[in-house]
C-alpha cells in the first residue's frame, strides 16, 4: 500500500513536470518506491519487532497485525480514505491470435508485469541462495543464537531482510497501481492474507511452493467467480487450502522437518 502510494505520488509529480513518457516514468517510480518504502520496513523492524525478538511467537504476530492496522490508519490520515485513480500509463498490446471474432491480445502492461516479476524473482533468489547476506539471513532464520555465534550481526541482517521485503512489496504495490489504476489505504489487507495463504498452500519456506500456491489460489478464485459466485471466492480458496493441508500438513511443496536432534 505504501509502495503504491509512493508510486502514485511519483507519477503525479512527474506529471506536474510534464513527464509522461511511460518507460521513464515507470523507471523513476520504481526507483523512488524501492528507495523510500524500505525506510518503512526498516523503521518498523527497529521499533516494533526488534524489542520482541525474544518474545513468544504470538507477540510478534499480534504486533504484525497491529502494525498493519497502524500503517493503514496512518495512510488514511495523511492521504485520505478515498480511492485514488491514476490514468493508465501503458496501453495497447500485441495481438497474438485471431480466429473469427475471437482475439487474444497480450497487453504491454501484462508483459511488463511478467518481466518485472521474473527479473526480481531471479534477482532475489540469487541473493538468498548465493550471497553472503542471503546465507546470513537463512542462518538467522534457522538458529538465531548460533548465527550470532559465528559472527553474524543479527540485528543488521534482520533489518536488511525487512528492507528487502519492503522493497519487494513496494514493487508489488507499483504493479497493482499500474494494472488496476487505483490505490486506497486498504489494498494491502487482502493481499496480505492471500499472500500468506499462498505461501502456506505451497509450503512455507519454499519459493516455488509460494509461486505454485499463488497460482492455485488465483485460478481457484477466478474459476469460482466465473462459474459460481464472486462473493464466495474466498470461501472456495480457503476450503481448498484446508483440504490440501489435511492431506499434506506442510503444504504442497513443503518438506516435513528433517531435523535431527
Amino acid at each position: 500500500m505504501i509502495g503504491a502510494f509512493i508510486s502514485i505520488i511519483t507519477f503525479l509529480l512527474l506529471g506536474l513536470f510534464g513527464i509522461t513518457w511511460a518507460p521513464f516514468a515507470i523507471l523513476v517510480a520504481l526507483l523512488a518506491t524501492m528507495a523510500l518504502t524500505p525506510l518503512y520496513g526498516w523503521a518498523l523492524e527497529r521499533l516494533a519487532y526488534r524489542p520482541l525478538r525474544h518474545s513468544p511467537r504470538l507477540a510478534a504476530l499480534i504486533t504484525a497485525i497491529g502494525m498493519s492496522i497502524f500503517l493503514q490508519n496512518y495512510v488514511q490520515l495523511v492521504q485520505g480514505a478515498r480511492i485514488k485513480p491514476l490514468q493508465s500509463l501503458v496501453t495497447g498490446g500485441i495481438e497474438i491470435m485471431q480466429r473469427g471474432d475471437f482475439v487474444v491480445t497480450l497487453g504491454y502492461m501484462q508483459i511488463l508485469i511478467v518481466v518485472l516479476t521474473v527479473v526480481l524473482m531471479a534477482a532475489f533468489t540469487l541473493l538468498i541462495q548465493r550471497t553472503a547476506l542471503g546465507r546470513a539471513q537463512r542462518a538467522c532464520e534457522q538458529d538465531l543464537k548460533m548465527a550470532a555465534l559465528v559472527g553474524v550481526d543479527v540485528d543488521r541482517t534482520i533489518a536488511a531482510t525487512f528492507v528487502m521485503g519492503a522493497a519487494l512489496a513496494s514493487v508489488a504495490g507499483l504493479i497493482f497501481l499500474l494494472y488496476y489504476g487505483v490505490v486506497d489505504f486498504f489494498i494491502g489487507f487482502n493481499a496480505g492474507i492471500k499472500a500468506f495463504t499462498a505461501a502456506v498452500l505451497g509450503g512455507i519456506g519454499s519459493l516455488p511452493g509460494a509461486m505454485l500456491g499463488g497460482l492455485l489460489i488465483g485460478l481457484i478464485e477466478a474459476f469460482w467467480s466465473a462459474y459460481f459466485s464472486v462473493e464466495y471466492k474466498d470461501v472456495a480458496a480457503f476450503t481448498v487450502l484446508v483440504m490440501v493441508l489435511i492431506f499434506r500438513p506442510t503444504g504442497l511443496l513443503g518438506k516435513p522437518d528433517i531435523e535431527k536432534v
Binding site: R135, A147, A148, V150, V152, I258, E259, K260
Partner: protein, 288 residues
C-alpha cells in the same frame, strides 16, 4: 605466557536465577585449558557468557587485553573467539559447505595477524619467546588476495582435518550423523581462524574411536597452529591429560584449578569426576 582471555568475578543470570556466581578464569596464548564439572555446574553458561549471550551481569571479561564485557556477540566473535557450542547447533537446512562458509563470516579480512588493537598492545606488546610465535598462533598468514581466497584456504584446511566432510559437502547439515555434525561444528568454528577456540563437549555422544579422533585433532590444532583452546568435557580423564591446565566447576563457581596432571592426581577430582572410569584406570584408558 601472555594472557589471552581472563574472566574476573563474572556473574551471569538467566532471568532471576544466577547461574555463575563470580567466576575467575584465565586462558593464556597457545594453551589448552579444560573445564570439568558436574551437569548443571555452569560450564556451558560460562562459555556462552564469554561470547556475550547471556550477558555478564557483574564482573569483567578481557580478551587480548581488551574489555569485551559489554560487547555484542558478533563483535566478540569477530575479535577472534570462536565457539562450537553445546548441542553442535549446525544450521540444519544448509549444506555442509554453507555451514562452513557461515563459520568464515567472522574471519578477518586479509591477514589475521595479531590485531593491532590499541588496548591490546599493553598485553601483546611483550612478546614471549616461550609461546609459539604470535604470528603462528594466529593461524596462517592469509593469502594476499583477501577474504575470498582466505576462505578457500580455510575450507581446504577444514577438509584436511576432517576428510569425511569433503565427501558430504553438499549434504544438508540436518541430515548428518551426530559425529559428522560434531566434526562440522568444530570445522565451522575453525573457519574464522580464531585465536581462542571454545569447545563445549565435543565428544558428546560419539563412538570411542571418533572421540579419539576429535581429541587428536584438538591437540594437533593446538600444537601446529598454537590456537588457544578452552575445552569443556565430560571425558575428564582424556581432557585433563590433553590440557596444560584445568579448572573444576561446581554450582556456578570454580572450586579447583591447577595443571592438568596435577588435577588428575587430585583425590577429590578423582573421586568426583574420574570414578566413572575407575575400571579403566589410566592404562586402560590409554588403550581405549
Amino acid at each position: 605466557m601472555t594472557t589471552l582471555l581472563s574472566l574476573s568475578g563474572v556473574r551471569t543470570s538467566y532471568g532471576n536465577i544466577e547461574a555463575l556466581h563470580g567466576v575467575d578464569l584465565e586462558v593464556r596464548e597457545g594453551e589448552i585449558v579444560t573445564l570439568i564439572g558436574a551437569n548443571g555446574a555452569g560450564k556451558s553458561t560460562l562459555l556462552m557468557t564469554v561470547c556475550g549471550n547471556p550477558p555478564v551481569a557483574h564482573g569483567q571479561i578481557l580478551f587480548a587485553g581488551r574489555d569485551i564485557t559489554r560487547m555484542p556477540t558478533h563483535a566478540i566473535v569477530r575479535l577472534g573467539i570462536s565457539q562450537a557450542p553445546e548441542g553442535r547447533r549446525i544450521f540444519p537446512r544448509m549444506t555442509v559447505m554453507e555451514n562452513l562458509l557461515m563459520g568464515a563470516v567472522a574471519a578477518p579480512p586479509g591477514a589475521k595477524a595479531p590485531k593491532p588493537n590499541d588496548s591490546a598492545a599493553s598485553c601483546e606488546g611483550t612478546p614471549s619467546g616461550v609461546t609459539p610465535a604470535p604470528g603462528l598462533s594466529s593461524g596462517r598468514p592469509a593469502p594476499p588476495a583477501g577474504n575470498g581466497d582466505g576462505a578457500a584456504a580455510d575450507l581446504e584446511r577444514a577438509f584436511r582435518l576432517f576428510p569425511l566432510l569433503e565427501e558430504r559437502r553438499e549434504q544438508s547439515g540436518g541430515t548428518l550423523s551426530g559425529g559428522e555434525q560434531q566434526m562440522l561444528a568444530i570445522a565451522r568454528a575453525l573457519m574464522s581462524r580464531p585465536r581462542l577456540l571454545l569447545l563445549d563437549e565435543p565428544s558428546l555422544g560419539l563412538a570411542p574411536l571418533l572421540v579419539r579422533q576429535i581429541f587428536d585433532a584438538i591437540a594437533r590444532l593446538n600444537r601446529d597452529e598454537g590456537t588457544a583452546i578452552l575445552l569443556v568435557e565430560q571425558h575428564a580423564h582424556q581432557a585433563l591429560r590433553l590440557a596444560h591446565r584445568g579448572y573444576v566447576m561446581a554450582n556456578g563457581r570454580i572450586v579447583l584449578s591447577g595443571g592438568g596432571s596435577e588435577l588428575l592426581a587430585n583425590p577429590e577430582v578423582r573421586a568426583a569426576y574420574l570414578e566413572g572410569g575407575v575400571g579403566v584406570r589410566p592404562a586402560g584408558e590409554g588403550a581405549s
